[in-house]
């Protein structure tokens, strides 16, 4: 029996070092050399080096001049993630869906039939970085109005940022919301956090629901 225990302890120690240590550190080393951006979390940096976010992680957008991501069960908290775990028949779930639908109908001025279900349901991880192309097109008119540009130019930008299924058949066509919004800022001028507050344009006069900005 003593031999058994000794072997068990030695095996545990040896494989812990090999599989917990060497394996993970080896992968980390390869990642640093070969996939340095991905290994760090696919982060997007500003010119001054601060981090805007990750291209894989949804962030919260509330202002009319930006496209909005899918609803999140954790309010886009990327440090404590999750879905809503609402069952399909849960009255709270159906109420939340109804409220999101009403909000979109008002905000975008459309009927329920034009709203893809992705925009009224929360994603699995609460951080889905993508929306379907139809969900982006749905928001195009509002974004164009807020930025004082033509809808066609916004639609063009959506098309340029639409990613088809991998190899043509794996997964769904999708638009990365953060990348699309960055492209908007690049093409039509920044309206985000870095911008001085008195910059003109009708966009600036719209109420910004929930953004926390004060209006004087």
């Amino acid at each position: 029996m003593l031999t058994e225990i000794r072997r068990a302890i030695l095996f545990t120690l040896v494989t812990m070092v090999l599989l917990g240590g060497v394996y993970n550190v080896g992968l980390w080393g390869i990642g640093r050399v070969v996939f340095s951006s991905q290994a760090e979390g696919s982060l997007i940096h500003r010119p001054d080096g601060t981090i805007v976010g990750s291209r894989l992680i949804a962030q919260k957008f509330t202002r009319p001049e930006y496209f909005q991501p899918r609803p999140s069960g954790v309010d886009y908290n990327a440090a404590s993630t999750g879905g809503t775990n609402y069952g399909p028949s849960n009255p709270d779930h159906l109420k939340a869906v109804r409220e999101r639908l009403d909000a979109i109908e008002t905000q975008e001025g459309v009927r329920a039939g034009a709203v893809p279900s992705e925009m009224v349901t929360a994603s699995g991880g609460g951080l889905d970085p993508h929306i379907p192309p139809r969900a982006a097109e749905l928001q195009a008119a509002r974004v164009a109005r807020a930025r004082n540009v033509s809808v066609d130019r916004v639609l063009e930008l959506i098309r340029a940022h639409t990613e088809g299924p991998t190899f043509g058949f794996l997964g769904r066509a999708r638009v990365n919301v953060l990348e699309l919004n960055l492209a908007l800022d690049e093409q039509f001028g920044q309206t985000g956090a870095g911008r001085p507050s008195r910059a003109g344009g009708s966009a600036g006069l719209k109420p910004r629901a929930g953004s926390g900005d004060s209006h004087d």
Binding site: T15, L19, Q38, A39, L43, F61, T81, G124, G126, L182
Partner: protein, 569 residues
């Protein structure tokens, strides 16, 4: 929808095709044959065995083999329990994660040593990088390898004649770890890393969003865990949402490779059996029987999920892409349903969508997968369950036609049937009694909604949440209806115990069975023998699995998912 069918067919066919080659490779690894990776991996295998102090030529009978298995698992349990209990004082903890609370530690470590990977914590808030590496990643390798070792030993017993020994546990364990899991895990890690899965020792990234809000983004040594959790039918995610989290499964391509990883080794085990007992036909019959249960479940599950939630359809929303609550846009409803069925027929338990939010009958498929627990099954262990069903089917068929039941030339007698029944009956016992106790506690508590706060969802779905949790624990699966508020002493301890018993009873009983059968002389087959490698036997096996495996769960299925389905409109 059309591309979904193509994608699903492609993934399944790719897995089947590659599993044949891997089955051959594993046969060579465990029988001393040569493989193309030998120059690199054989020295590593020898090194591990030498440092452990194991003589590679030592042979063990089934009792010694079981003792080695249990003692090694107990030591691993103690060592890793210690680590998570003191993780805040250990290095590699940039996000200052606290020590784990004792009942949660008990549950977590029992869960990971039993290859279940049920998680009552969330990785990004509950574990340091040190624990992710030296507890999670480590256990995901060695517990998967434990299952493979037990399965190989069982097959040796079935294949052998007048055997005194069934191999050496440490040799099998080391071979499975170093020569099967390690190379595959490195390959899969690199692929998912190329797609965007992080592998960094840096703490959370501190982002300032375009709208100027602070957004800390948890990351870590993710890629190393993601690959082995998929390959070893572990399923324990790095982050709470598992492979629904964009970091754990960033693209449809990573989704392809991760889905492939779930069933690759379980499928390959069937071919390994065929090589080891020298009967390709038997392997084909068993494989086809498994497919004949797996494929209808996939088709049904995908159909349910792509049809959407009728309660949302009535609101007039465009639900043409299916039920999307708890699902990710890049995968869509079809690939999510494929994963849900695949991860539960095997004992993997990773998820790429939230099972709690599936449609009622879509969500019934994962439960059926766990109730059967033998279709491809866990690496090793699930296949042992299948062999038990094979022996029962042989017995039933033998009784029906009035011939002596025999399998691979060995008579199946009372003692074997007792061991098989023990392994078989424990499973429904644990699930149904466990759920009954939980319901009793719920029903007898005053104001359980606030006092216990277990159930996020009311009505039949709440019942499903409790049923799912015990099904997942007993099947050593580890997925969950995560609306269950399960980080409480009741769930931590009850599920911890169910996981431990449900792991070791179905491992030790078959090892004993293998010992008994292996010691018997194999009689040459005659015209009077029952042929286990025939199509007829395949049908019998299918019927035995469906009737014995599912019928006893019919009442709870009606109370939970089916009741919810009928009420939902």
């Amino acid at each position: 929808m059309g591309t979904d069918i193509l994608a699903i067919a492609f993934i399944i066919l790719l897995t089947i095709a590659t599993s044949v080659a891997l089955g051959r490779y594993m046969f060579n690894v465990f029988t001393g044959g040569r493989t193309f990776l030998d120059p690199v991996l054989v020295p590593l295998e020898r090194l591990v065995l030498r440092l452990t102090g194991v003589d590679p030529n030592e042979e063990q009978d089934w009792k010694q083999y079981s003792v080695s298995l249990l003692v090694s698992n107990i030591v691993m349990w103690l060592a890793t329990f210690a680590i998570v209990s003191i993780q805040q004082w250990l290095p590699l903890n940039p996000d200052s994660i606290a020590n784990m609370e004792p009942t949660l530690s008990f549950n977590t470590i029992s869960s990971f040593t039993t290859n279940t990977n049920l998680q009552h914590y969330s990785g990004e808030t509950g574990l340091s990088y040190f624990s992710q590496m030296f507890v999670i990643s480590f256990l995901q390798f060695v517990t998967a390898a434990t299952g493979v070792a037990a399965c190989i030993a069982t097959i040796r017993g079935l294949a052998g004649s007048r055997l005194a020994h069934i191999g050496n546990f440490y040799v099998d364990l080391t071979r499975a770890t170093v020569r099967v899991f390690l190379p595959l895990a490195v390959l899969v890690s690199l692929i998912v890393m190329s797609q965007g899965t992080p592998m960094t020792f840096e703490g959370a990234a501190q982002a300032t969003t375009l709208e100027g809000q602070a957004q800390p983004i948890a990351r870590g040594v993710t890629a190393g865990v993601v690959s082995i959790k998929q390959l070893g039918t572990n399923g324990g995610g790095y982050f709470g949402p598992n492979s629904a989290h964009p970091y754990e499964n960033p693209t449809p391509l990573s989704n392809l490779i991760e889905t492939w990883s779930i069933t690759l080794i379980p499928m390959a085990m069937v071919w390994t059996l065929g090589y080891m007992v020298g009967r390709r036909r038997l392997a084909i019959v068993i494989f086809a029987t498994m497919l004949a249960i797996y494929l209808p479940m996939v088709v049904f599950g995908v159909a349910q999920e792509t049809r959407g939630n009728p309660a949302i359809t009535t609101m007039g929303v465009d639900q043409s892409t299916g039920s999307m609550e708890g699902k990710e846009v890049r995968f869509g409803a079809g690939l999510s349903a494929l994963w849900a069925v695949t991860t539960t027929v095997t004992s993997n338990g990773s998820v790429n969508s939230m099972h709690d939010s599936m449609t009622p009958l879509g969500g019934l498929m994962p439960m059926i997968g766990m109730w059967l627990n033998n279709i491809f099954g866990g690496v090793g262990v699930g296949f042992i369950n299948m062999l038990i069903f094979v022996i029962v089917a042989v017995f039933v068929a033998g009784m029906m036609v009035g011939r002596t039941p025999e399998f691979l030339g060995k008579k199946v007698e009372a003692k074997e049937m007792k061991l098989a029944s023990l392994a078989l009956l424990w499973h429904p016992l644990a699930i149904l009694v466990g759920t009954a106790i939980a319901c009793y506690v719920w029903a007898t508590s005053a104001d359980p909604g606030t006092a216990l706060a277990w159930l996020k969802n009311p009505g039949p779905h709440g019942f499903s949440e409790m049923l799912y949790e015990f099904s997942s624990s007993a099947a050593n699966n580890g997925s969950g209806f995560e609306g269950l508020g399960d980080n409480t002493p009741f769930w931590n301890i009850s599920c911890g115990l169910v996981m431990l018993l449900s792991r070791y009873i179905p491992i030790i009983a078959p090892l004993a069975l293998a010992g008994v059968l292996g010691a018997k002389p194999a009689a040459p087959e005659t015209a009077g023998s029952l042929r286990a490698d025939s199509v007829t036997f395949g049908f019998t096996l299918w019927a035995v699995i469906v009737i014995l495996g599912l019928l006893m769960f019919m009442p709870v299925a009606v109370l939970g998912p089916i009741a919810e389905h009928l009420a939902l409109r």
